[in-house]
């Protein structure tokens, strides 16, 4: 399991890692959803864990064309054979984007990100590495711009650091809340946009009045100061700041089982892809 903190930091008092906190809480955020458009990496881990815990009937939809995939191990890529073999239906990629995603059929889009700003806008295209260096190249948009626009709502999951949570994006690949409330509506975006960003430190949600991401929940063992230090802008804290519940033994067991099953045949690295 990789992490962007030191390995000494990576285990809290009890026997789970910060990544596991992130993954378990990301899965919990899918309670009640019917359909989820799943990005690979952390979102896929969360969605598969949700099927094993809070939402056994969750319909997983991958951009490779699979609807209702029921993998028994974490897929390494969005095109692993098991995703197709266990699906209720497999459709061509253009149909997936036109009829299913743009068609407004999908409740939740679950995204990772390289850079996020305070309005949950996303950059996965290029990063500025300073005046003497060429732009750093990221993978690009993939499905994200239209996932964020067309799904009923958007969840995001990524590790918390000032490298990821930046005051200004170098490039807007995917619009979250633009420059504040009303921007999505002005652009005619059907979905509600990002409603939660789940990290390895806590959960951020857009303030209903300003659409700015505020810290609403801390994971067990994490302090507000830690989160602020890992955020590139002056992070506001919700008046009603809460704490996430520690993972249950069932959640941890399910998560670890999924990952171990994955390892036997080409393990998931946990990196976004």
């Amino acid at each position: 399991m990789t992490d962007n903190t030191t390995s000494a930091d990576n285990t809290t008092r009890t026997d789970f890692t910060r990544d596991e906190l992130m993954e378990v809480n990301a899965a919990r955020a899918l309670a009640g959803a019917r359909t989820c458009f799943v990005g690979i990496g952390l979102p896929s881990t969360a969605a598969n864990l949700a099927r094993a815990t809070v939402n056994p009937d969750l319909v997983l939809i991958y951009e490779s064309g699979t609807i209702g995939s029921k993998p028994t191990r974490l897929p390494l890529s969005i095109g692993d054979g098991e995703l197709a073999e266990t699906a209720d239906a497999v459709v061509p990629v253009p149909e997936m984007f036109n009829y299913w995603l743009q068609g407004g059929r999908i409740d939740v889009g679950f995204l990772g990100a390289a850079q996020v700003d305070r309005y949950a806008n996303i950059n996965t295209t290029v990063v500025n590495r300073g005046p003497d260096k060429p732009e750093g190249r990221l993978p690009g948009a993939g499905g994200a711009p239209e996932i964020a626009s067309n799904c009923g709502k958007v969840l995001m999951v990524l590790r918390h650091s000032t490298r990821n949570f930046v005051p200004e994006l170098d490039f807007v690949t995917t619009l979250g809340h633009g420059a504040g409330p009303g921007d999505r509506k002005k652009l005619g975006m059907p979905g509600a946009g990002p409603v939660a960003v789940i990290t390895d430190l806590g959960v951020l949600r857009p303030d209903p009045a300003t659409a700015e991401l505020v810290l609403t929940e801390l994971h067990p063992g994490v302090s507000v100061e830690q989160v602020r230090a890992a955020t590139g802008w002056e992070l506001r804290v919700s008046d009603g700041l809460g704490a996430t519940e520690p993972p249950t033994p069932q959640e941890l067991a399910a998560l670890r089982a999924l990952k171990n099953a994955g390892k036997s045949s080409g393990k998931s690295s946990g990196k976004d892809a």
Binding site: G65, S77, A84, V93, P94, G143, P145, S149, A273
Partner: protein, 276 residues
């Protein structure tokens, strides 16, 4: 009508210097063997199109054959970066790489327009994104009924499309199944089509999820068992995830990459396999 040919001859006849070339396959059925044959023949100055460039295009880019890339997501799925792609974009090694960059929805619809012989396709996309500031193939149209402004993407019509499929019959009709991605669109959008197949069979038996391309939309079929490795062909092989992970350190290093291509692609034995 498709001729059944050796991979060597099919590539030599159908893929030319300077072509716009699409090699599609969404994780599944990626035509690696054909890409390796292109490297061996040194076909160059290519404009490559592909939704997910993947390791196959990392190899072609690193080999110095690519002038421009049309794409929507360039990574090593589940592993990380495409280092040869990054090195070309960031440092111009071994040559500068021009980019025409889209979202998946936009790329898929560019192929749909191409297959439909329309000059553009319409989608509700790219809203609020900076992507349109870096490409000339995204624009807007206004709905004549509602007044809504929508994104327009230019049709993508490759000079040649190469795909891998499970089976062809002796007349050159092709069937693929499993994840079929945008292969039908990429093939029907192209001027020329080459299909490598796992197996040539007497009769194509209809399969659940099967996509059939009749022989009269294909120029050549080449029998190349395992031609999708390290990708896979459902029913014939599984994805070699270990290879994708092993690729990361190879591609990170220019010399390691060059050596790998020399030893695994350009050497005599792989060349012989293609002529078969």
């Amino acid at each position: 009508m498709a001729d059944i040919r050796s991979l060597h001859d099919a590539v030599a006849d159908l893929v030319h210097d300077g072509d716009i070339l699409a090699m599609e396959g969404f994780t599944h059925l990626i035509p690696y063997a054909a890409a390796h044959e292109i490297i061996r023949q040194g076909i160059t100055d290519l404009t490559l199109a592909r939704m997910t460039p993947d390791v196959i295009y990392d190899q072609l880019i690193g080999a110095g054959l690519v002038r421009k890339l049309i794409f929507s997501w360039g990574g090593n799925p589940g592993v990380g970066s495409l280092h040869r792609f990054r090195d070309a974009v960031e440092n111009g090694w071994p040559r500068p790489l021009e980019l025409d960059e889209h979202s998946h929805a936009g790329m898929a619809n560019r192929y749909v327009a191409g297959a439909s012989k329309l000059p553009f396709a319409v989608l509700r996309g790219y809203r609020g994104s900076d992507i349109p500031t870096r490409t000339e193939t995204v624009s807007t149209v206004v709905c004549p009924f509602t007044g809504e402004e929508l994104a327009a993407v230019a049709a993508l019509n490759p000079d040649v499309t190469v795909i891998h499929a499970q089976q062809a019959d002796r007349n050159g009709n092709v069937q693929l199944w499993g994840l079929t991605g945008v292969q039908k669109e990429a093939a029907l959008a192209a001027d020329r089509v080459l299909v490598t197949v796992e197996e040539i069979v007497d009769t194509l038996e209809p399969r659940p999820g099967g996509v059939v391309l009749p022989t009269w939309v294909i120029d050549a079929v080449a029998e190349v068992p395992g031609g999708a490795h390290p990708s896979y062909a459902s029913g014939y092989s599984v994805r070699d995830n270990a290879f994708y992970q092993a690729w990361d350190p190879i591609a990170r290093d220019r010399e390691a990459f060059t050596r790998w291509i020399e030893e695994n692609v350009r050497n005599e034995q792989s060349a012989k396999a293609a002529v078969r």
